[in-house]
Amino acid sequence: MANAGNEVVFKKETVAKLLTRSFKEDKTKVSSDAGDAVAEMLKVFVEEATRRAVKQADSEDCDTVDIEHFEKILPQLLLDF
């Protein structure tokens, strides 16, 4: 299943729906390019979160990334975004 060419991305539709649900006004829309850019932001966010958690697990000599590893890196992650 792990193909070098296959990239995991957020579906444009999903991103668009997620955004419009959170908008306060009905009139607000998202341009197609902006949708792609937000999908990219989300992907980076998830990647960053995972990689930092992995690093944390590594520094604690654990082979499994546990929720506590994620919890430890969460504050800085949110500040960086």
């Binding site: 999903t14 959170s22 607000t28 341009s31 902006a34 958690a53 990334v65």
Partner: protein, 125 residues
């Protein structure tokens, strides 16, 4: 409001699915295991982060007296970390180029099929 709830659940599931795949991919890359609980937590955090993005984006668009969120608005949300900002800047340029390419190809294909149609019509006459 059941329909609304169903859509909400569906969206959460979609996010969870993609996040799960991303996490597994990265963990495997780093030769580590990752628990389902951790993936769920990351998915939940990502959803909330998206909510924050949405509210920021709406505010930026409104500030610029627009109703449509554009790429410039998205770039603003990346302003806190220089590396992130540069990355999104680069990505959006790539996307713009890709879209231009696609448009050009589509137009070329359109004019080709128009020419072929014209030829066929001539033959029929």
């Amino acid at each position: 409001m059941d329909e609304d709830e169903t859509q909400k659940q569906r969206l959460k599931a979609a996010v969870h699915y993609t996040v799960g795949r991303l996490c597994q991919h990265i963990a495997a890359d780093c030769e580590k295991q990752i628990t389902k609980q951790t993936i769920a937590a990351i998915a939940e955090t990502a959803s909330r982060q998206c909510d924050i993005f949405a509210k920021d984006l709406e505010a930026f668009a409104r500030h610029a007296k627009r109703h449509t969120v554009t790429v410039d608005d998205v770039k603003l949300t990346a302003r806190r970390t220089t590396a992130l900002y540069n990355y999104i800047q680069q990505k959006s340029e790539e996307l713009a180029l890709n879209n231009q390419e696609l448009k050009r190809k589509r137009n070329a294909a359109k004019s080709k099929s128009k020419d072929m149609e014209a030829e066929e019509n001539e033959l029929e006459d």
